[in-house]
Each structure stands twice: as structure tokens, then as C-alpha cells.
Symmetry: C2
Subunit: 466 residues, 2 copies
Amino acid sequence: MAEIAAAVEFARKNEARFVEELKALLRIPSVSTLPEHAGDVRRAAEFVAAELKRIGMENVRLIETASVEHPGGHPLVYADWLRAGAAAPTVLCYGHYDVQPAEPLDEWKSPPFEPTERNGNLYARGAVDDKGQMWMHVKALESLFAACNGRLPVNVRVIVEGEEEVGGEGIAQFVRKHGDQLRADVALVSDTEMFAPEMPTLCVGLRGMIYTEIEVRGARTDLHSGMYGGAAPNPFVALAQIIAKLKDPEGKILIPGFYDKVEKPTADELKAWKALPFDEEHYRRTEVGSKELTGEPGYSVLERTWARPTLDVHGMPGGFIGAGAKTVIPARALAKVSMRLVPDMTPAESFAKYKAYVESIVPKGVEVEVRMIHSGDPIVVSTDNQFVKASTGAMREVFGKDTVYVRGGGSIPIVGDFVRELKIPTVMMGFGLPDDNLHAPNEKFNLANFHRGIESIVRFFGNVGA
Amino acid sequence: MAEIAAAVEFARKNEARFVEELKALLRIPSVSTLPEHAGDVRRAAEFVAAELKRIGMENVRLIETASVEHPGGHPLVYADWLRAGAAAPTVLCYGHYDVQPAEPLDEWKSPPFEPTERNGNLYARGAVDDKGQMWMHVKALESLFAACNGRLPVNVRVIVEGEEEVGGEGIAQFVRKHGDQLRADVALVSDTEMFAPEMPTLCVGLRGMIYTEIEVRGARTDLHSGMYGGAAPNPFVALAQIIAKLKDPEGKILIPGFYDKVEKPTADELKAWKALPFDEEHYRRTEVGSKELTGEPGYSVLERTWARPTLDVHGMPGGFIGAGAKTVIPARALAKVSMRLVPDMTPAESFAKYKAYVESIVPKGVEVEVRMIHSGDPIVVSTDNQFVKASTGAMREVFGKDTVYVRGGGSIPIVGDFVRELKIPTVMMGFGLPDDNLHAPNEKFNLANFHRGIESIVRFFGNVGA
């Protein structure tokens, strides 16, 4: 335990350097969904690999994921240190170095790829999701190497992917084909958030998702609405008619059979959620900022965002979107539509029901194509194992409080693959905050949490290896 | 009449030069709706003014329209030649030198602002709408000046605007305030098309329009659909629900009272339309290219596009429109929605009904703003006057055929102002063709029609002055 205390001490002494290194990583615009950023994505992978090598990890390498079936795949970063002995457990650290697009740029108070400190927070795209949280793993490992004479208290494998924000197909294929190369006893994932400031949190459930496009085609070419309005089909009107039939005005999804496989949370879980300090009106006012909240009647906000499927429209490309007026009837229009899934829904079955329903409500005059862009399974993980105890113990030492168990509304597709393919539990120990603006302008990471996260992870490794 | 024959001869000898000059004008990307093209719009105005001066027009000048109430207004080009004597009629030639945006650029076979001849057509944005047709006026006047020793058979005023594609507010204000400066006996407008090739056509009715934006705001900032999906309102879903209630599935507009003022075409007009060579299936296949046509049941295509109001959505800006996936619940989304109006609807009353209706169907959780971008009155003009006879006589000489009377589905807002403010009839003698791709990629002007248009206008001036 003296070594753990020394590692914590090392981390505290190096706080400023850790932040500067993170800033350098955040300056790389590794937006995985945009082909023009493919070079930046690779640069971020190389940056992470170089640092893993420098701190003492072994077998550091990039694993290419691009293939005929997966063109444009971004590399995985792999590293391990397996000298703790066969009796010691093996921890698989997972994170991702890719980020969401930064648009709309004009809503950022400081540029998204120029990390800026304000009021104890570090603002940048990827600050918390997930470069900052992934960096906590790297810096915890560095601190342990420094305090333990170049050794670690457990065996460690690190896998960092560059496609989490676009569905994680590359790592999913790797896990399925080469799962033996990631053999471990537990996965550690820091890509979630704390329920509230000062409240150590483990995430024990994640929604899955299907991200789709509906393309509607009407006339062969764009037409003038003066000349053809009243005769030519309008793809945006058709899309609106389709979308309006996907959800009822209250927010219930109208796709037949969509809720068939939805499993209710346990009575214990529901009881624990009710005990969490959560005020819907405060949440509406401070986090969402809308006039009213929406969603399925009869469920609390936590149930609606953690344990119920949802459907959202993210954008509707096509036609004229400039300032002013253009009187075009566009030949085609798209809608980007995603659905969040919960246990025991599956992406394949949910997509099939959705596609069949959309195809059954195609308005007159247009043709429709429904495409899957990517998907991920929903999961719920068990809390009854030594690794969860190692984590809650570590956070009790750092925060002086018991851990709360929550679910997350978002998706980390790989966690499902860890459960299914590697047969290992995942500890989702995240240090984001609810107001960190994930996927939105002015994403940030609270720097106190960055440092407490590093200390918690150091202590977690210590507890697992004890 | 020898002079008219000489003017026709002059025009024929100079065909190639006329086309080259038009190409130079078409190379100027005078897109009036895009602020970044304001300099190009002015260059186009100066180009037209310089040519009017060169051919012999007098008092040539740019009239600025920008003001506090109309910021960003583009200049009018004015010229006159009033030496034909007080007994001779005065013709007011109207055209516009601005053009629609060229997007989507990747659908153009040759660049929109690099005019290209293919198969007897000239391809460019603005080729027919309206630079090419406006240029017919200029070239007809040049031919008459050349054949008549620097004189014209009638008094002529020319007014060319640069805001037709954005609602024509500048010229409308000028006509209202300074109508005396445009005093004339008739307006000549060439901004319409022939019903079919080889079929001389006068347009005697135009739909009006209101072009609007609906802005929907939900959350204060963009949110992550994983975390907030199920609780935060989605502006695109709300917009879709609104749009789906604007028209029924068949195409009938559901705004209460919207059809109240719609005036039926006369029995004679309907009979004449039925006699036109128009095949709906051929039109669907060759012009629209959609699976089916849409629109109000119980009306023919010509009635639906000429004599019935319509509603179209042109684009839905907001959210994520890049390739791939971004899981954002956007804070706001817009829809660009326009309605075409017919006599005796008015823009103000129609907008008021539309706005009140949209505000009455706002979905839960969002706030809505409905804005008017621009508008124009619908009109029907009389065919019973000497100017119409001068036009049909001119076209009979050129085409060897009687003229058909049609309406246009589009809007030329200034024609309504000519009727109301100047109390003069308008002759809408246009030489476009139905497949000219107005407002769409690959806009073109048939060059044979360009030259026959110039000859028809030369002969029209001759007939008016006879």
C-alpha cells in the first residue's frame, strides 16, 4: 500500500504536466465520422501509442481495422504489461481517442480544438468524451510505474479505439476475431459520468442504439416550386409525414412491436433511482432549458432516459439551407434518425421492425430507402463481483462517500462485446459531470475530477492487485 | 415596315455576337440571396447599364434600393428613350439580372457560371431566368436603333431589377414611391415560357407567394441524444409534426380558411386549357420523373399548378447534416416553407391564417416562431387590348401560328405592382421551354428561341408603334 500512496503522490506532483499533455492530445481534431479528418484520427492514435510506450507499457502497436468490409476503419491502439504473474488478475483498460464533430462552431466560447481552461474546467471537443477520461488511465498507469520501480500491481492490457463515435465496428470485429489477444478478468471503462458533483458513481447499464437514414426521392431533379408546386411530390413533406407517424404527440414510439422485448428494471433498481437526489424541474431548467420536458407518459425522467427506448431526429439534409429564399422542390431529402434501445431489445430486430413500418407508411409519389448506419447492443452489468468492490473502495478513499449505481442513456457499443465475446464484467467508472456538454458545443472536463479520477484508478489497480 | 425588316435582318446578322455578349453576362454569379455575392450582383447591374448606354438608350443610371428598411438591397438599372413623340405609346421593358443559387453544384454537367453550348442550347444559371430573356429586350432595342438611324418606333423605358429571386422588395418600393418615373402605356415582361416548343404563348396569370420560415426551439443548447433522449424535446420531430398537419396526405392544405378567397378560372379559360396539348402521364415521365404526381384531388395538373394554391417545404436547416452519424438533439431546427397564392388571395391575409394555425398546433416542449421572408401578389391580366394584339401579331409572323393563353405557376411579384400602381397592362411574352430547368441544375435557354424572341420583340415594337 506504500506503493499506492507513492503513486498517488506522484500523480499529485505531476498534475500540471498531465493537463498540458492532455491539451496536446485535444488539439488533434480526430473527428472519426468525417473522412477529411482521417489523418488527424491516425495522429491521435500515434500520440496515444507513443505515450503508452514512454511510460513503460510493452508490445505497443497500432492495429489496423480498415478492410474491404470496413473501408475507412481507424486504427486501434494496443499495449500490455503482463509481468505481474499468472496469479494476478488482468485488467483490460478501454477508451477511445476519436471525438464527435464540433459543429455548430459559432456556439463555442473558445475554439473546440484549442483547449482552454476556465473556472477549473478544461474546454475542448473530447475533453471528457473520451480523451480526458482515457488519459486518466494512461496517467494512473504512469504513476504506478513510477512508484513501483517500473512494475504494476496487476497485469494490464490497454485497447483504445478510434471509432466509438461512429459505432465501433473496427474494435467489434477485432474482439470477435481475436478475443484471445484481449484476454482479461475485467474491463475498466471510463466513458461515463457521475450522477452529481461529489457523488462517486458506477454505471451498470447502457442503452444500445440503431442510427439510420431515411432517404426520400420524389422528382428526378430539383424543380421550381412555382412551376411544379401542386403536381410534383415534395420529399420534405413526405419525410415530415413519415416522422410524424413514428412517435405520437406524447412521445410514445408507434413502430408496431417496438416495445415487445423491453425489460423492466428490477424493483430494487427502481427504488434506488427514486432515492437519488434528482429534481425534474431543476433538471429541466438547468440542464435541458426547454419550456417543458417531453417523453413517454407514466415514466420518470430517469426511467425514460435509462430504461426506455427513444427515437430522435438529428438532422434533415437536402434542399436549400442557406439564408433567404430558394423556391426549390428538391429531388431528394434525408432524415438522420436514431433509436436508443434497452435490454432485451436487439439492434437487428428493432431495425427490421422500424424499416418495415416506414416502408408501410410511404406517402404517395415518393420512393423511400431506409439504411442502417451503425448500431450497438444495450447492456446491464452485474454489481456482485470483486472488481465492483475494488472500484467502490477506491472511490470511497478519494471521495469519502459510498458509490451510487446508475444506468447511462447513451451507448458504448464495445461493452456489449466484452460481455458476450470475452465473458468478462465491465467496471464503468466515469468522472464526467452532467453539465459537461457531451456531443455539444463547449464540451468540458472538470479538472478536479480529472485528477480525482486518476487517483481513483490508481487505487482501483491497487485494490484489484491486493 | 422596311425599318422593322431591316432590324430583323440586323439581329440575324449579329446572332453570334449577341450570344457571346450574353455569355459574358452569365459568367457573373449575381446570386441575389447570398450576401457574399453582393459585389457580383452589382457587377451584373453595371454590365447591363453599360450595354444600354452603348446601344443608344438615354438617362441610363443605377438606382440604389438599399435603405434602413431594406438593407442589402440591390440596384435597379434604369434607361429610357422618349423621343418618339407624345402621340407614340410608351413601353416599359422589365427584366431581372439576378439569379437563383446554383446549388447543388455536383448535379451540373457544366459549371453554372461557365456558359456552355450543347445541342443548340446555352447552359448556365440565369440562361433563361432571366438574363437571357432580358437580353432579348436589349438586343431587340439595339437592332431597332441600328435599322432606324438611332431612333425607335415607340417611346421606351427599361427597368431591370436585381432582387426578383428574393422577392423584389426594392423595385416594389420604387414603383410605389416613384411610379411617375416609370409612366408607360404597357409593360413588356419576358420571364415566362412557351407552353410547348413551336407554340407561341402569352402568360395571362401568375400565382403569388409567401415564403416563410418556421423556427422551432427546444433545449437551450445541443444535447446528446443518449443522455437526454426521452426527456428533451426534439425540434425536428416537432417540425415534422407541424408540417404533417399543414397538408393532408392527398395534398389539400389544412390551414383553416386558406381556400376562402380562391377564385375559379372562367369557363372559357378552363375550356381553353383542356384544348392544350397536355398529357399528364407524359409530363410525369419526362418533366417530373417521379413515381406518381401529387396534389389536390379533383383538379387537373394545369389547374393545380396555375389556379390552385400550394404549399412546399424547400429545406430544413439545423442539426447534423454531414456524412455518417452524430447523435445530437439540436437546440433548434428550421423549415423553409412557401405557399403559392392565386387570385383573389392576398399575401398578408394568407400569412396571418398560416401563422395563427401553426401557432395553434405547436407540439409540447418547444417554442415556435413563424417569419415571412418575402411575398408577392397573384394576378390575372386582361387579354382584350391593343398590346396583346401587337404581341400575338408579332409572334404569328415569327412562328406562323396563333398564340395560346396560359397562366404561370410561378410568381413575378412586380407584375402585380404594375397593375396596381402604374395602372397599366402587362404583356408577358416569354420564350423559355418547359424543360429549361428553371431554379434547378442545368438551367438552359434554347438558342433558336433566344433569336426568335428577339425577332418577336422587334416586331412587337413595330406593331405597337404602327
